[in-house]
C-alpha cells in the first residue's frame, strides 16, 4: 500500500458503505416500497472510491444509470439517498428521481443521466464551467464501457481536447453493455487507445485494487488540474451483480468470510482485495477492518428501517397509495 493507514481505512469504509447500501436494496426491494430499476455497483466499488478519494470537495462529478457508488463516494448523504429510493420528500432529489437520478449539491455530485453516454457530454459542460469560473476544480464524468459505443462519447472527448477543458473521463469497463461483451461491440477494446487519437492523456488501472485506482487517478488528475487538459482513465473490474435489478452474485458481507476471501490473491471482490492489502501491510489494523465490516452494515440497516417506516407512515397518513401487496405475492 502506498497510502496512510487513515486513507486505507477511509477507502475501505467508503466501499463497505456502498456495498451495504446495495445489499440493503437487495434485501428490501421485494417489499415493493422501493420501486423502479436499480443498477448496482457490487464488484465495481473501487472505481468510484479510488477516483473520488483523490478528488477535492470542489471538484464536480456526474454519473450514469449506475450512480449509487459515485454519489456515495463523492460524499452524498446516505440517509438522503435511501430516502430517495423510497420516494420520500427528504430524498436527495426530493423523491422524484429514484435510483438513477441521485444528486447532491453540497457534495458537488451533479446528478446522473441514464441516456448513454449521458454523463460524458455533461462532464464537458461542467468542465467548461470550471474553466470559465477560474476555479481550479476538475469535472469528473463516469461512464461505462457501453458509453464508448456511442458517438456522443467521442464528440465529448474531442470537444474537451479542443477546448482544453479540465475533465477527467472515467470509463468503467466491466466488459458488458447489459449482456453484450465489449469484444462483440468494438474491434479495439482498449478504450484508452481511442482517447489518445484525440490527443488526450489516457491511463488504465485494474479496479479490483482500490489503491491502484487511486494511484492512477491521482496521476491523471494532477495532469488535468495543472494543464487544464482532459484525460481518460480506463478502469476494469467485474460486475458482481445483475445488470439491473436487486440481484447480487456474491454473498452479503460476512466478516469471517470476508477475512478468508481477503487471503485469496485472485479475488475479484474489491472489498476483499482492500482488506487483504491492509492486513498484509498493516496487520495491526485488523481490529479497525473488522469494526468497519461489522459496524457499517448495521448502521445502514438502521437507515433502511427508518426510511421504510417513514414511507409507510406517509402512505398511511396520505392514503394516496395502495398498500403494498403481501410479501409472498408474486408478480
Amino acid at each position: 500500500m502506498d497510502v496512510t493507514a487513515e486513507v486505507a481505512l477511509e477507502c475501505l469504509e467508503r466501499m463497505v458503505v456502498i456495498r451495504a447500501v446495495e445489499e440493503g436494496i437487495c434485501a428490501e426491494y421485494s417489499n415493493r416500497n422501493i420501486r423502479g430499476p436499480v443498477h448496482l455497483s457490487i464488484g465495481q466499488e473501487a472505481m468510484a472510491v479510488g477516483v473520488l478519494n483523490v478528488c477535492r470537495p470542489e471538484d464536480v462529478a456526474v454519473s450514469t444509470h449506475r450512480d449509487h457508488a459515485h454519489y456515495l463516494a463523492k460524499g452524498g448523504s446516505v440517509g438522503a439517498m435511501i430516502d430517495e429510493l423510497y420516494g420520500l420528500e427528504s430524498g436527495c432529489s426530493r423523491g422524484y428521481g429514484g435510483s438513477m437520478h441521485l444528486f447532491s449539491g453540497e457534495a458537488n455530485f451533479m446528478g446522473a443521466s441514464a441516456v448513454l453516454p449521458g454523463s460524458t457530454p455533461i462532464a464537458v459542460g461542467l468542465g467548461l464551467g470550471c474553466k470559465l469560473d477560474g476555479r481550479r476544480a476538475v469535472a469528473v464524468g463516469f461512464s461505462g464501457d457501453g458509453a464508448s459505443d456511442e458517438g456522443s462519447f467521442f464528440e465529448a472527448l474531442n470537444l474537451a481536447a479542443v477546448l482544453k477543458l479540465p475533465v477527467l473521463f472515467v470509463c468503467e469497463n466491466n466488459g458488458l453493455s447489459t449482456n453484450t461483451p465489449l469484444a462483440a461491440r468494438q474491434a479495439q477494446t482498449d478504450i484508452s487507445a481511442k482517447a489518445r487519437a484525440f490527443g488526450l492523456v489516457a491511463a488504465n488501472a485494474d479496479a479490483v485494487d482500490v489503491f491502484a485506482v487511486r494511484r492512477a487517478a491521482a496521476e491523471v488528475l494532477d495532469h488535468v488540474r495543472s494543464t487544464s487538459q482532459p484525460a481518460v482513465l480506463a478502469l476494469t473490474a467485474d460486475r458482481l451483480c445483475a445488470h439491473v435489478g436487486p440481484v447480487s452474485t456474491i454473498d452479503p458481507i460476512d466478516t469471517g468470510a470476508m477475512l478468508a476471501e481477503a487471503a485469496n490473491g485472485a479475488t475479484r471482490d474489491p472489498i476483499a482485495s482492500c482488506v487483504g492489502a491492509i492486513l498484509r501491510d498493516e496487520p495491526q489494523l485488523r481490529g479497525e477492518c473488522i469494526e468497519i465490516l461489522e459496524g457499517v452494515p448495521t448502521r445502514i440497516a438502521a437507515e433502511f428501517r427508518r426510511a421504510n417506516a417513514a414511507f409507510e407512515d406517509r402512505n398511511a397518513v396520505a392514503g394516496l397509495v395502495a398498500p403494498p401487496p403481501p410479501k409472498s405475492h408474486t408478480v
Binding site: 458517438g151 467521442f154 468494438q186 474491434a187 481511442k194 482517447a195 487519437a197
Partner: protein, 337 residues
C-alpha cells in the same frame, strides 16, 4: 511542384482517364460558378481542390461497388458515370434530373441507383453509418461489393462518424472511409475542430488500419485507395484514409472565405490544385503534352457550357408532382399512419 514515385498502381491509360474525369469535374464546377453569378443557377458547392482524391478513390472501385459520397463529391460521381448533361439537369432542378428529379438541393446531393451511388442527406456525417449498413448488407448477402464512403474533416467531429466506423470495424465490413480533409468545416479551421489534425490516427482506436495521403497526389492516392479496396474485398475489413486537400473556393456560393482566410492562404490553396499537379506529373513522364492537356480541358469547358444551356431549356417538375417519390407509397395523400 512535388510529384510522386507511385507509378505502378495504375496503367498509363487509366491515369489518362483519371485526368479526363478531373477535367470534367473542373469544367462543371467552373461553369456552375458562372451560372450562379449570372443568376441562372441557385447554388454551388465546389469540389475544386478535391478532385485528386475523389477520382483516385472512386477509380479504385469496380462497377458493382457502392459510392456513398458527401455533398462535395462531384468528381466521385463523374467517375461512376454521371454525365455532364445529367449533372446540369440537377443543377437546374429539372424534372428529368436523375439524382432527385429536382427535389434535392440543386447540385449538392448525389443519388443514382443505376450507378450505385447511394442517396445521402446533407446532415453532416449522417451517411457514414449508412455506408456501414450498405457494407453490412453486402457481407450478409455475400455479393462481394465494396462501399466507398467519403466525408470532410468536420464530419469526424460528429458521433455518427464514430458509430459508423466502429460498427464497420467490429464486423470487419467491406468499406473504405475516406476523409477529404480540407482543414475547414465552412469557416471553422481544423485547429478549432480537433486537437490532433491527423484523422487516420483514430484508426488505431477502432482496431483498423489508417493511412494518411496527400489527396492532391493522384498516383499516391490511387495506390492507397486501391490497397484499401483490395483489403475490403478480401474480407479484411475497413480502412480509414485521411487525404489532405486544399479547398480552393469558398465553402459554397453562400459563403465568402475572404471573411476568415487571408489572401495569402487562398493563393497558397490554389498552388495545391490537384489537376495542375497531375498534369505536371503526366507531362514529366511524357504521357501527355501540356498543350494536349489544355485542349482536353477546353473541350470539357465547352461541353459543360453546352450542357448547361441545354439543361436550362428542359421542363421543370410539375407542381402536381411535388410529393411524388417524397413519401413512402400510401402516405403521400394523407393516408392514415
Amino acid at each position: 511542384m512535388a510529384t510522386t514515385t507511385h507509378t505502378d498502381a495504375a496503367t498509363r491509360e487509366q491515369y489518362l482517364q483519371m485526368h479526363r474525369w478531373m477535367c470534367m469535374a473542373k469544367a462543371l464546377d467552373d461553369r456552375m460558378h458562372i451560372l450562379v453569378k449570372q443568376g441562372r443557377a441557385p447554388f454551388v458547392g465546389s469540389s475544386r481542390g478535391h478532385e485528386g482524391i475523389q477520382v483516385a478513390s472512386t477509380a479504385a472501385l469496380g462497377a458493382d461497388d457502392w459510392l456513398v459520397p458527401h455533398y462535395r463529391g462531384l468528381a466521385n460521381s463523374i467517375v461512376r458515370g454521371l454525365t455532364m448533361k445529367e449533372w446540369m439537369l440537377a443543377v437546374f432542378a429539372k424534372a428529368a434530373d436523375p439524382l432527385s428529379a429536382g427535389r434535392n438541393i440543386p447540385g449538392g446531393c448525389f443519388s443514382y441507383h443505376a450507378l450505385k451511388i447511394a442517396p445521402v442527406s446533407q446532415v453532416v456525417a449522417s451517411w457514414i453509418p449508412k455506408a456501414s449498413g450498405i457494407a453490412y448488407a453486402a457481407k450478409l448477402v455475400g455479393d462481394g461489393s465494396v462501399t466507398l464512403c467519403t466525408f470532410g474533416d468536420g464530419a469526424t467531429s460528429q458521433g455518427d462518424f464514430h458509430e459508423g466506423v466502429n460498427f464497420a470495424a467490429v464486423h470487419r465490413l467491406p468499406v473504405v472511409f475516406v476523409c477529404e480533409n480540407n482543414s475547414y468545416a465552412i469557416s471553422v479551421p481544423i485547429r478549432l475542430q480537433m486537437a490532433n489534425p491527423d484523422v487516420a490516427d483514430r484508426a488505431a482506436g477502432y482496431g483498423i488500419p489508417g493511412a494518411t495521403v496527400d489527396g492532391t497526389d493522384v498516383p499516391a492516392s490511387y495506390a492507397v485507395c486501391r490497397e484499401a479496396v483490395d483489403r475490403a474485398r478480401k474480407g479484411e475489413g475497413p480502412t480509414l484514409i485521411d487525404a489532405k486537400v486544399w479547398r480552393m473556393n469558398s465553402h459554397t456560393s453562400e459563403d465568402n472565405h475572404l471573411k476568415y482566410r487571408t489572401k495569402e492562404e487562398i493563393a497558397d490553396a490554389s498552388e495545391h490544385d490537384p489537376i495542375m499537379r497531375f498534369v505536371a506529373w503526366l507531362v514529366e513522364r511524357r504521357w501527355i503534352a501540356a498543350e494536349e492537356a489544355a485542349k482536353i480541358q477546353d473541350g470539357f469547358d465547352r461541353e459543360a457550357s453546352d450542357a448547361a444551356d441545354w439543361a436550362e431549356q428542359q421542363p421543370d417538375p410539375a407542381p402536381e408532382d411535388a410529393l411524388t417519390n417524397v413519401f413512402a407509397a400510401g402516405r403521400a395523400q394523407g393516408a392514415s399512419v
